[in-house]
Symmetry: C2
Subunit: 231 residues, 2 copies
């Protein structure tokens, strides 16, 4: 493997966004120094490296900082060309992977966070919205699957990493919320895709212990419910 | 130039997003068939090609449709490698261009639309928010400029196209709103950058007539004010 330089990865163990970047680093076999960030009390380094968004993940490569999951994933693919490719080589297939990664990133994360932080009618509305978006994603992934262009049929890449970012903790989601999102009968393509990803050795190795994630998500849910009750 | 294939571009003359894609096509010297879309009465083709967002721009290359400005811009750069490069070749510089393109795309468009569609206190709040974001962008672009990595110092590319998407019609914005956003004293880097872009021959050739844009934006503003008054 080519000289990889010094890689520092600022994450937070339960952050879904950090989870996807971690998977990409592990898929490429890149060694890195890991810095766990406390998002309640952000480090000076995090504020220096990501002054615009002040969020994890941040990747620092030979002193240069890169922020934003999708930007980092592309950077990883373009910098370490050895190891598996995270985007297909065909421009049209790359465009499809980027389109759907952006879709998941822009349309599914916020609504998932909302479901965690709310109850009753507001939560139900968010759940309905989530199902609609999952339906769109299911149809899109079915098309990619038919074209032989969905990650788990070929290489695992950026699109898989983003999907895994969101649903890698699906068992903990189910336990905390009592809701199954990716149901086989309703979303057969998404279900098979998720199962294929979580069964990968590289994924199994990096997943946090189930009970730890359940407790972390429960804390996140409780603080969200508390703050929405007080506004 | 390599065989370019059949290129069809679905746009709308006043759409800022379409403006950026048009610039990229023109920069690369790609011949295309243009389809003007009526966004009030969307064509079956637009709904077929972009079923997820149902928006322009859409690029159709040899029958394959690509949607979403940033995805299209990357596709154009990767497909037609002759002509100017729209992203730098260094991965870190590419990451910076992507980061800031994403910032403009996600944080500046919606707030601009809001300023057009509102009045009074709501508009003032949006204007304040816009200035804050422009301040962040000014600082970011200053850093890129110092590094010799801002488009108008080198090649014009994706970041310039996105910035031009938003502010290419700045004279019409000023006439309709009575507000100057990119003021030299306040945002010297953004101001020089915008002036450099609008002075490019390729940009001058593609810009719609000023009065036509003023009228289009005035109609957009009037319909926005009307609908916000009725809710």
């Amino acid at each position: 493997m080519a000289e990889q330089g010094k890689v520092i990865f600022h994450g937070m163990w339960a952050s879904p966004f950090a989870r996807g970047v971690k998977l990409a680093l592990n898929l490429k076999g890149i060694s890195y120094e890991y810095v766990e960030e406390d998002l309640v009390n952000k480090s000076d380094l995090l504020l220096k490296y990501n002054p615009v968004h002040k969020k994890v993940p941040v990747l620092v490569h030979n002193g240069k900082a890169i922020a934003e999951s999708l930007v980092i994933l592309e950077y990883i693919d373009e910098t370490w060309k050895d190891g598996p490719k995270l985007l297909p080589s065909d421009p049209y297939k790359r465009a499809q992977a980027r389109f759907w990664s952006k879709f998941i990133h822009e349309q599914l994360f916020e609504i998932t966070f909302l479901i965690f932080k709310t109850d009753g009618e507001v939560q139900q509305k968010a759940i309905d919205g989530m199902h609609e978006k999952l339906n769109t994603l299911e149809n899109g992934m079915k098309t990619l699957l038919v074209q032989g262009n969905l990650g788990f049929e070929n290489d695992v890449g950026i699109l898989d990493a983003i999907f895994y970012s969101l649903f890698g903790g699906y068992k903990a989601h189910e336990e905390v919320l009592g809701i199954k999102f990716i149901v086989a009968e309703k979303f057969p393509v998404l279900f098979s895709w998720l199962m294929a990803i979580v069964e990968l050795d590289v994924v199994k190795k990096q997943a946090p212990p189930h009970q730890q994630l359940v407790q972390g998500l429960q804390r996140y849910r409780n603080s969200g419910l508390k703050s929405s009750a007080s506004t």
